[in-house]
Symmetry: C2
Subunit: 200 residues, 2 copies
């Protein structure tokens, strides 16, 4: 079996960011490619009655501590963003627009968005920081702005979110490998065992 | 530092069961003892607006799959209970009653409750299966029944739950080591790193 791994995430998800820094090397060790699929957790949460981590009593405070500690555990840079969570539809629409012509560039854009937000504390919900991320990758600013705002981009993202929910995605990061779902950066060891043993 | 590890759990929590089978050996490697502290997640969830896993759309179905897979991953026996979740105040009250005179026996009782429920599919919310667990450990049946029902046992458990919530406990398993909280069986690797390095 050599099917691609589906990687669902929200650009505002800290655990998604941590996973994004590790899934590439992990999957490559087993000859698998990864399909990155940004979604909007806000839409998903409305369907499942869930809420953003930071808003949940006790769990919210714990999570802020756990995210920073998890980053240290994995040896990844992390700075708690000043604004959290943020709306990420602009970043997600831009990702799918880029992915149509150049999946590699889209991947680099996704990495750059995550690092801008969770390492450099740039609020990528705002037009300017997001444009800066795109510009640094040589993406044309006028084309970028037009693409992010056009109805086709919104429809593409909505369709992706619907597909994700139909597949059972309810959080970020969420991986699907050979129809087997793995939720959370803390499931990467199980995902790796799955790849190593073709299921277990 | 050699302070004990506090281990909060609900007898109805499958991830708590998995953790209960591993925390003893893990802590012993670093010369730490463990204080087992059963709580009632139902009471905690009322305070945090949370709900039992099985009742949450998408997440509930995922969790049933994830629990069985996690048990295989850790090499632990597990059978999905016919009734889930269940009320565990009787088991928790019995635990604290036993712990007053004989912490070692209380620990064995806790292990036996978890295994009865998650391996042998015995509904320990019911008086008879719970009595069987106690009887197998040589605990007097009359004394046991009286202790489980007496007001002092209820008060003891309520006080423990209040203390746990004041400490921030919102799920099961939940560990506190040197004031550092770790939620979930999937945080045992971070807990171990903490013990190995006196914090990180």
């Amino acid at each position: 079996m050599n099917a691609a791994i589906d990687f669902y995430f929200d650009f505002s998800s800290p655990y998604g960011y941590l996973a994004s820094e590790m899934i590439g090397q992990l999957s490559a060790r087993y000859g698998r490619s990864v399909h990155w699929r940004p979604v909007l957790l806000g839409v998903v949460f409305r369907a499942t009655g869930s809420a953003p981590l930071a808003s949940i009593p006790l769990k919210g405070e714990y999570s802020m501590k756990d995210i920073a500690r998890s980053a240290r555990y994995f040896g990844l840079p992390y700075r708690r963003p000043s604004e959290f969570p943020i709306a990420t539809q602009r970043a997600a629409r831009a990702y799918y627009w880029l992915a149509e012509d150049d999946p590699q560039l889209a991947r680099e854009f996704a990495h750059a968005c995550y690092r801008a937000y969770f390492v450099d504390d740039r609020n990528i919900a705002q037009p300017e920081p997001l444009r800066d991320v795109a510009a640094a990758l040589g993406i044309d600013a006028m084309q970028f702005e037009a693409a992010v705002g056009e109805p086709a981009s919104k429809q593409r993202l909505n369709a992706e979110i619907e597909q994700a929910m139909a597949r059972g995605v309810f959080g970020s990061p969420y991986f699907v490998v050979d129809d087997e779902p793995f939720w959370g950066v803390d499931r990467l060891p199980q995902l790796e065992k799955w790849l190593a043993e073709d299921g277990f």
